[in-house]
C-alpha cells in the first residue's frame, strides 16, 4: 500500500511539475499547443493525486486529514479541481493555470517534507464533524487561493491587455469574486462545524486560540471584501489588490499560526 501511495504521489508531483512547465510555456511564450498539453498533464497529475489519497484513506482507515502530510495531500487536491472547474467555465482563464498548479505543487511539497507515518485517528478526531470541518476548510482556502491567482492575473492582464486579446479582465475579476463568495460559504461551514464539534469535545464552542482567532480574522477580511464588492461596488484593480491582501491573511492563518500553534488540536 505504501509503495502504491508513494508511486501515485510522485506521479502526481511529476504531473504537476510538467504541467507547470508546459502551461507556463503556453502562457508566457504563447504556445497554445503546449498550454493544452499542460492542461492534460495537470489532469493526469490530479488523477494520480486522487489515487494517492484513496490509497492513503484505505490504508489508514480514515480520511487523510491528520497531520501536516495528510492535510497537505488533501488540501492540494482541491486546488487543481477548482482550477479545472474555473477553466471549464471560462476557457481564457487557462492562462492563470500555471500559478494554480504551482500552488498545488507547493502544498504537496510542504506535505512531502512532513512524516508520512500511518497513524490511527486520535480520539478527538473520531467525529463525523472532522471530515466536514477539514473538507470545507480546504474548499474555502482553495477557493481563496485560486481567487487570488485570478486577482493577480487580472492585474497583469489589465496592464497588458494586448497580450491576451481573448481574455477579458472584467470576466477574470468577476470569476475571482465568485470564487471568493463560494469560498466564503465554505469558510462559514468550516467555522460553524468546528465550533459545534468543539462544544461536544471541550464544552465550549469558542476559546480564542490563535487558529480560531485567525480563522475569524480571515472570515471577517473576506466579509469586508464581499461588502465592498457587492454593496459599495469595488471592482477591478481595487478588488484585485484586496483579494491578494485577504489571501495573505489566509496564508498567515494556515501556514503561520497553524504551524506554530498546536492548541487548536489539544488532545487528551
Amino acid at each position: 500500500m505504501r509503495t502504491l501511495e508513494g508511486a501515485a504521489l510522485w506521479a502526481a508531483v511529476a504531473g504537476y511539475a510538467l504541467a507547470f512547465a508546459a502551461l507556463s510555456a503556453g502562457t508566457f511564450l504563447g504556445r497554445e499547443r503546449l498550454g493544452r498539453a499542460g492542461w492534460r498533464l495537470a489532469a493526469a497529475g490530479w488523477a494520480a493525486h486522487t489515487l494517492a489519497i484513496a490509497v492513503r484513506w484505505i490504508a489508514t482507515g480514515h480520511a487523510p486529514v491528520q497531520g501536516a502530510y495528510e492535510n497537505s495531500l488533501s488540501g492540494a487536491w482541491f486546488i487543481p479541481l477548482l482550477g479545472g472547474v474555473l477553466v471549464r467555465q471560462y476557457r481564457p482563464a487557462i492562462r492563470a493555470a500555471p500559478f494554480i498548479v504551482a500552488i498545488a505543487l507547493l502544498l504537496l511539497g510542504n506535505g512531502i517534507m512532513a512524516p508520512a507515518v500511518h497513524l490511527p485517528l486520535e480520539p478527538p478526531f473520531r467525529s463525523n464533524w472532522l471530515v466536514v470541518h477539514v473538507a470545507f476548510a480546504w474548499l474555502a482556502f482553495g477557493s481563496y487561493l485560486v481567487a487570488s491567482v485570478l486577482a493577480g492575473y487580472h492585474l497583469w492582464l489589465s496592464r497588458r491587455r494586448a497580450a491576451v486579446p481573448a481574455a477579458r479582465p472584467a470576466v477574470i475579476d468577476e470569476l475571482s469574486a465568485k470564487l471568493i463568495a463560494f469560498g466564503f460559504v465554505g469558510d462559514t461551514v468550516m467555522i460553524a462545524s468546528g465550533a459545534i464539534w468543539a462544544h461536544g469535545l471541550w464544552g465550549r464552542y469558542w476559546a480564542w486560540d490563535p487558529i480560531e482567532t485567525w480563522s475569524l480574522v480571515s472570515w471577517l477580511t473576506y466579509a469586508v471584501y464581499l461588502h465592498l464588492r457587492f454593496t459599495l461596488g469595488w471592482t477591478g484593480s481595487r478588488a484585485a489588490w484586496l483579494a491578494l491582501g485577504a489571501a495573505a491573511v489566509v496564508v498567515v492563518t494556515f501556514f503561520g499560526i497553524g504551524v506554530v500553534s498546536d492548541v487548536h488540536t489539544q488532545l487528551l
Partner: protein, 440 residues
C-alpha cells in the same frame, strides 16, 4: 468589521499572561506588560471596548435588514424589473414566432437564466426571491450568533470534576473545581455521579511500537451512572466525542489516568494513607506526590506494563498489563525509603511498607452549561443556508419580445443580473450564438 479583524489579529500575538516569560516582562517593563495583558484574546474579547464593535455591527445589520425588508415589501406587487446590469440584443430569427419562442426559451435556459413564463407576445423569467431571503437569513443568523455569544459570555458555566472508578461523587461547589463562575456549580447540587467500565483503547499495530506515547490511542470511554434527588437514576455512555447531558449540563471526557489503591504504613505501624492516588499519564513516567497523614509525602511513578530496560525502570506499552509502582517515601524533604511494588503486592524498605492492592482509572470530566449554544447553532445554520441561497440564486431577470417580421421573427432580448456584468455579457453572447440570428 475591518477594525474588529485588525484588533483580533493584534490580540492573537499577545502572550498568555500565565507564561513565565510574561512574569519576566511584568518585572522588566510593567507598562508594556499592562498593555499586552489587556490584549490577551480571552480578556480582550470580553472587554466593553471590544464588545462595542460587534454591538455596533449588530445594530447596523439589524437596521440594514429592516431597511431592505421594508423596501422589498413596498415593491412586491410591482411588475418584474430589469436588474442593475442589463444587456440588450435585437436580432431576426428565421422561423415563425412560435418555434422561435421555443428556441429562445432553450437558449436562455442553457445560459443559466431562470425558466420562462409567457405573457402576451412576451417571454420573461425572473429569479431573486431566494437570493433576497438568503441574504436576510444570513444576516438574521449573524444576529442570532451574536446573541448566542452574548448569552455565553454572561451565562456560561464550566468546571472540572475528577471521578475515580467505583467512587461516587456528589456534584457541587465542593467537588467541581476550576468553576467559572465560582458559584455556578451550586446548580449541580443534588446529583451524584460515578463512573465504571472505563476503557482506554490503543490501536493494536502501534501500541507495541510507541509504548511511551499517547500516539496510537483511539478512544477513552466509560459508563456514567447518575442519581438525582427525586428522579430515576440515569446511565450514560461517555467517550471522547460522546458527552453526556445531565440536568442541562454537558459532561465530556477531558483527561484520564491511573488510580492505584495504596496503603502506606510507617515503621511505627501507623497507616499514613489508605486511598486511591490520582496519577498522571502524560508525560509518561511523570512523578506524582501523595500527601501523607501526619506530614511527609509519597512520590510515585507508574509503569503500566513493567519491562525494565537494563537498570532503567520502563514500561513496554501504555496498557495496564503488568502494573508496577515505583515509590519514594519523603519525610522532612528527604527520601527515607524507596522501592517497587507490583499490583496486588506489597513492598517494605527500612520499616516503611507500601501495599498496592488494586488499580482503577480516573477520568477528569469537563462540566459545562452554555445558554448561548442553541442561539449560536441556530445562527450557524441560518448563516450557512442563507449564504448558499444568496450566492447560488442571486437576482436575475430577462425579457424577450417576439414580433413577426416577414417569414421570420424579430427578437428583442433583454438579459439582466444584479451582479457580475462582464459574465452577463459572456452569457448574452452564448445566447446569441445559440440562436444564430441575424443582428438587427
Amino acid at each position: 468589521m475591518s477594525a474588529t479583524a485588525v484588533l483580533l489579529a493584534l490580540a492573537s500575538f499577545a502572550p498568555d499572561p500565565g507564561e513565565p516569560r510574561f512574569e519576566e516582562l511584568r518585572r522588566r517593563a510593567p507598562a508594556r506588560a499592562w498593555i499586552l495583558e489587556r490584549l490577551e484574546p480571552r480578556r480582550f474579547t470580553t472587554s466593553p471596548a471590544f464588545l462595542a464593535l460587534p454591538g455596533y455591527i449588530a445594530l447596523s445589520v439589524a437596521a440594514s435588514m429592516w431597511q431592505r425588508a421594508s423596501a422589498r415589501l413596498r415593491t412586491r406587487r410591482a411588475p418584474p424589473e430589469i436588474e442593475r446590469f442589463a444587456v440588450r440584443r435585437t436580432m431576426t430569427l428565421g422561423e415563425a414566432p412560435g418555434p422561435a419562442a421555443e428556441r429562445v426559451r432553450d437558449a436562455v435556459r442553457s445560459a443559466g437564466f431562470p425558466r420562462a413564463s409567457a405573457a402576451g407576445g412576451e417571454l420573461h423569467g425572473r429569479r431573486g426571491a431566494l437570493g433576497f431571503l438568503g441574504s436576510m437569513a444570513f444576516h438574521a443568523g449573524l444576529l442570532a450568533t451574536m446573541v448566542g455569544i452574548g448569552l455565553s459570555a454572561v451565562g456560561r458555566f464550566s468546571g472540572e470534576v475528577v471521578l475515580t472508578e467505583g467512587f461516587p461523587v456528589r456534584l457541587g461547589p465542593a467537588t467541581v473545581r476550576a468553576a467559572t463562575p465560582p458559584d455556578g456549580a451550586a446548580r449541580l447540587g443534588g446529583t451524584t455521579v460515578a463512573i465504571r467500565s472505563v476503557s482506554v483503547e490503543f490501536a493494536p499495530e502501534v501500541r507495541q511500537a510507541l509504548p511511551d506515547s499517547r500516539t496510537g490511542m483511539v478512544d477513552v470511554s466509560a459508563v456514567l451512572d447518575a442519581e438525582r434527588d427525586g428522579a430515576s437514576p440515569g446511565r450514560f455512555f461517555l467517550s471522547v466525542n460522546a458527552p453526556a447531558s445531565l440536568d442541562g449540563h454537558q459532561l465530556s471526557i477531558h483527561r484520564y489516568g491511573f488510580a492505584p489503591e495504596i496503603r502506606a504504613t510507617d515503621p511505627e505501624g501507623r497507616v499514613r494513607t489508605d486511598a486511591v492516588a490520582v496519577l498522571q499519564v502524560i508525560p509518561p513516567g511523570a512523578e506524582d506526590a501523595v500527601a501523607l497523614d501526619g506530614g511527609g509525602e509519597l512520590r510515585l511513578r507508574f509503569y503500566p506494563d513493567w519491562a525494565p530496560r537494563g537498570a532503567e525502570p520502563a514500561s513496554r506499552s501504555p496498557l495496564p498489563v503488568r502494573p508496577v509502582l515505583a515509590w519514594r517515601w519523603m519525610q522532612g524533604g528527604r527520601e527515607v525509603a524507596s522501592g517497587l511494588v507490583p499490583r496486588g503486592g506489597a513492598a517494605e524498605a527500612g520499616g516503611y511498607r507500601i501495599a498496592f492492592p488494586s488499580l482503577r482509572y480516573w477520568l477528569e470530566l469537563l462540566v459545562s452549561r452554555d445558554p448561548g449554544l442553541p442561539w449560536f447553532t441556530l445562527g450557524a445554520l441560518l448563516g450557512v443556508g442563507g449564504l448558499a441561497l444568496r450566492f447560488g440564486w442571486h437576482e436575475q431577470s430577462w425579457r424577450a419580445t417576439l414580433r413577426p417580421d416577414g417569414a421570420g421573427t424579430r427578437l428583442e432580448l433583454v438579459l439582466s443580473a444584479r451582479y457580475f456584468p462582464a459574465l452577463l455579457e459572456e452569457r448574452a453572447e452564448r445566447v446569441a450564438r445559440a440562436l444564430g440570428g441575424r443582428a438587427a
